[in-house]
Amino acid sequence: MKMIQLLLILFFTSCINHSNVDEVVVVKTSKFKSEIQFAKGFDIDDSNIEFSLIKINSNHSKYNFSDSIYIIHSDEFDGGNKKVLAKKLNNLAIQSTTYLSYLSVLNKMSLVSGVSGLQYVNSIYLNEKINEGSVSEIGNNGSIQMESLLKIDPDLFLIYPFELDNQDKYNSKGIKTLLISEYLESTPLARLEWLKLFGMILDENELANAYFDRVTLNYNAQKLALDTTKKMFFNLPFKENWNMPNSNSITANLVRDAGFDYIFSDTINDNTIRSKEIVWENAMSCEYWIIITSRPENYTLQDLKNEEPIYSEFSSVKNNKVIFCNTSTTDYFTMGVVEPDIMLRDLIHCMDSNYSSKYFRLLK
């Protein structure tokens, strides 16, 4: 008898339809031409009247991935097996809280129903939603809990490229995914330009383009020429290794646009980890020191000196020219992504005593 029950259970579970095919309700959105100026990691193909095609590529020698999604503008388009967004998005799941900055600019935070790493959410609005229970955690530290994800059943799940191997797993369960690799861009404006991609999938093209144009204008207006007398180096070591940004990274280019001359600008490849000894020898006479790291709220220059006795001998410390961004008390990793103009302004003006900074401050 038990055997028969077991067989029946097996029979019925095998009949469960696991695929969750969306009912295609085509929303005819206006055809908007998006021109990509700086970003290298995605492109928008607007050549066809029936759809826009978003193409994601790795744009990096170290990685090899690609993704694409069709945004349909006409009910005559047959997507076939292609990944299509045929209806207006009602809810989103995100693997990185960085994406919240783009959603915030486009006033689409209300679409978020699942976030990986709730502790990194700084948004007051979203925190209220989390407390209400309308936004739930779908994983932590990069790992995704499939059951939590299925429970919220998002229209689109925005993922990191390193989640690429799991993409089929999500798609087989009816969850559409899109790789977002904004962090692999090499300039702050290129990273900001991913806003246009978000504008496209959320049908907020005009808002995205207007915001992008305004910030780009602000940024370029402030940009300074490289001043070779303003020698600088980055960050703090962890044990024996000192992790420095690649000279073609977003951070290094932001600092260069503020006129600083990065002493390790020869690091054009990924080998950016320097030994502590090398940094000590080279950084001693550097005029500026820019630190982007997580420290307690009221971190001071004295606290920095207490971390390592040699720091008191650095020219930057002696001359009070240590510029600091506390990643645990500022929105550097979230809103900083869409406010490169403010970050640039901070870097240029934070030495002024009357200046009120948002991201970078002079360490006192």
């Binding site: 044990k239 030994s275 000894e277 001693m284 001998e313």
Partner: protein, 333 residues
């Protein structure tokens, strides 16, 4: 004759250790001329200000490697005699895991936010963790006949501690977890002169106090009944050995992370090179061999661009020695 051979061996090893220590201070990513090195070590001003800090860093690293190697090796030796098991060691018996749990409670448990994350509180919590594990092992060892069973109990205690640490990760933030994971990989780098100024006397005093316990250790090596028959105070000796081995393991583990294999492998090397059964010979050899093992491992790391974690190197050297010990044990039985 044999004793003379051992003294010669010890003398040669000490010379090798001194030469390697000088080399350890002189090599690094920044090339410092030898005359400048000598000037800095004399306490005079160097041509390049950063060099004096670089030399200080290398010197501290060398001292910590020597102290940790000696301390862990001696701890392993004590535990092997204490539990009459050649495979005993702070790592295998779960004592290092006990220290790790103590440190994890302070670091990942958020007590550092309350100002309890100081070095002293870390050492105290680590020491407490080591003492708890050792006490459990002592109680369990009374009910166990086979020495291998004790190792399995140690392994289970280690798993249990690790499971509790994993649970603590759940409440820790990403930065705390990252720091704890990197600490767990082990390193002799980044320990300040201020910390060394108190680690040095604690380790030297603990190892030095063992010279007064050579007779009891020799007695224990021949069995507890024999030790009793020659008038050794078993209770006091046991308490002292537990305290010393726990203190040494806690101090080294808190500052350098749970360093694998030195405690278990080095006493095996010592037994392989000397036929002496006296701890008057075995103990200093264990200290010197342990220091040499740790210094060579650290030099290996530094010469390969500081890429490899300490535990990777000690495991690469230590695990074949343990396999060799197990084969030797099986041959004997």
């Amino acid at each position: 004759m044999r004793r003379n051979r051992d003294i010669w061996l010890l003398s040669i090893l000490l010379i090798v250790l001194i030469v390697l220590s000088i080399w350890s201070v002189s090599v690094g990513d920044v090339s410092i001329p030898f005359n400048e090195l000598f000037t800095i070590l004399k306490g005079d001003l160097s041509a390049n200000e950063s060099w004096s800090y670089i030399v200080e860093g290398r010197l501290n690293r060398t001292i910590i490697a020597l102290l940790s190697g000696g301390a862990l090796s001696v701890t392993g030796l004590i535990l092997q005699v204490f539990f009459k098991n050649p495979l005993a060691g702070p790592g295998v018996l779960g004592i290092s895991s006990g220290v790790t749990l103590g440190v994890a409670i302070v670091v990942l448990g958020g007590f550092s936010m309350l100002g309890l994350g100081s070095n002293l509180s870390l050492v105290c919590s680590g020491l407490l963790g080591a003492l708890v594990i050792l006490s459990i092992l002592m109680v369990v060892s009374k009910f166990i006949k086979h020495s291998i069973t004790l190792l399995i109990v140690g392994l289970m205690l280690s798993y249990f501690s690790s499971a509790l640490v994993s649970a603590l990760y759940h409440w820790a933030d990403l930065e705390q977890s990252r720091q704890f994971i990197i600490w767990g990989l082990g390193s002799f780098d980044g320990i300040s002169s201020q910390n060394i100024s108190w680690i040095l006397p604690v380790v030297l005093f603990s190892i030095g106090s063992l010279t007064f316990l050579i007779r009891p250790l020799n007695g224990f090596a021949l069995g507890e009944d024999y030790a009793k028959s020659v008038g050794i105070n078993i209770k006091t000796t046991k308490a002292l050995l537990i305290l010393i081995s726990s203190l040494l393991t806690a101090v080294v583990t808190v500052y350098c992370g749970p360093v694998a294999f030195i405690g278990i492998a080095v006493p095996q090397i010592v037994r392989g090179v000397t036929q002496s059964k006296s701890h008057q010979i075995i103990l200093p050899l264990a200290v010197v061999f342990g220091a040499l093992f740790a210094l060579l491992a650290d030099l290996g790391i530094r010469l390969t661009g500081n890429v490899l974690p300490l535990n990777t190197v000690t495991s690469l050297i230590g695990s074949p020695i343990i396999v060799w010990t197990i084969i030797r044990m099986n041959k004997r039985s």
